[in-house]
Symmetry: C2
Subunit: 264 residues, 2 copies
């Protein structure tokens, strides 16, 4: 099934635009077995989400066993629920091909995040997997996003140029954009440039982005095609042994908060 | 020892500005054991190079065992020779911290490549390892480099803005830049902006960058602080069992070609 169909179907079934970022931080976890921690989180929340999004950094930081933990984690996620690899890869064509193979063929992710800095030939090897989703970094949620993404190029900030280019490149309909909730005006702008594109929106939760504006500016005309990612606020809702239940409660709360801001 | 000292010391000892990119491609290799292939290449060439540079994509494409192969490969490299992780990572601060830990603390790389798109807070966690080198992507060697890196922002192309920012951020003296040999004029420009910075220069070899201009524009005033990377042309110089010897011959040839263009 195509990524976007899988996403919409899960989102409708679970009435959720919430994505949980599976970013294990051993220092914040109440247990030592990371795969089991992820499994408990997934089992407690898989009817509350539209997707999961492991960020590869946290698995690479576990050393050589990290990718095995990641592989195991992906297996715990029920078949119907899409998994987005937050990898932010970006390299020259032949290398990008190896990254795309790793993420899509070897690990079996349904989608991946990529960086635009190297241009189209760094993204094309990902996009050529027609049934996979490719989220291009556009306006990120961090403070440093301003350093280059806001620079004006021929009258437009760079992130807008990226959004427009992504629209041009989206001939297979499988390209989306990453836009942080921490910058509501930029999110509104990107949504106006790409009214039908899927947006991956981190930054609500611990990063402090405003949920109300993120939802009203982020979703498409049908109140869909927006994926709101929350990681730490859910994973570490409790630091005790009740972490999975606490994660479920928090996920449900955020899911409902998001839904309460949908006009339809 | 600091990365830059280690690099200069190896470069002077081996009279070499050549870096070999350890990018295993099972389809091009005459043997099936990738760690052994890398070991044979390293043993045949470690007195010919100033550094090695494995690109992580090719290890991730090997699946869960890939990082173990990478770890083994790093161990085969003699202590004195610096190893650059070509990872092109770029993520928000807390995540960048995990990537930096993975590359520097867990895998023990001496340097890493990073993407500038997310700005300073995505790079700072790497730079804060004072004895490690951090190469920021500036003007890459691929065709798509033009898509965004050449866009003019307040009169300057983006890659020049990145070069200038990198200069500002280089308070610890451990930042370098990645500039492709395939764009000699841009390389000359970057060297003029950052006369004392270390440049990592891919694109000679299979990618077709002109060696003469790459060397004369890339090195600093002393004919140093430039790292010319070649991967496929050396690794796959022979597709037979004599691959290690053929790699050594090719490495020696390129090393001497580079040296012949140094004015001193």
């Amino acid at each position: 099934m195509e990524f976007i169909e899988k996403l919409l179907s899960t989102s409708r079934r679970n009435r959720s635009l919430l994505c949980i970022g599976l970013d294990p931080d051993p220092e914040l976890m109440p247990v030592t077995d990371i795969a089991q921690f992820n499994r408990a989180i997934i089992e407690a929340t898989s009817d509350m989400v539209c997707a999961y999004k492991p960020n590869l950094a946290f698995y690479e930081a576990l050393g050589t066993s990290g990718l095995a933990v990641l592989e195991e984690t992906v297996k715990y996620i029920p078949d119907g629920v899409p998994v987005i690899a937050d990898a932010k890869r970006g390299d020259i064509g032949s290398t990008a091909k190896a990254y795309a193979r790793a993420l899509f063929s070897i690990f079996g992710f349904d989608a991946a995040t990529v960086s635009p800095y190297l241009g189209y030939d760094s993204i094309e090897p990902f996009v050529s997997y027609e049934d996979k989703g490719v989220f291009i970094l556009c306006r990120t949620s961090n403070r440093g996003a301003r350093d280059f993404q806001d620079l004006h190029t021929d009258g437009l900030p760079l992130y807008e140029v990226v959004a427009r280019k992504a629209g041009e490149w989206n001939v297979r309909g499988n390209i989306g954009l990453v836009v942080g909730a921490t910058y509501p005006e930029e999110l509104r702008k990107v949504r106006s440039i790409c009214p039908e594109m899927c947006l991956l929106i981190p930054g609500i939760g611990t990063q402090g982005g405003d949920l109300t504006s993120a939802v009203s500016y982020g979703v498409d005309a049908r109140g869909e095609r927006a994926v709101f990612n929350v990681s730490r606020q859910i994973l570490y809702a409790s630091k005790g042994q009740d972490y999975a239940g606490a994660a479920r409660d928090m996920a449900d709360r955020i899911r409902q908060q998001i839904n309460s801001h949908l006009t339809r």
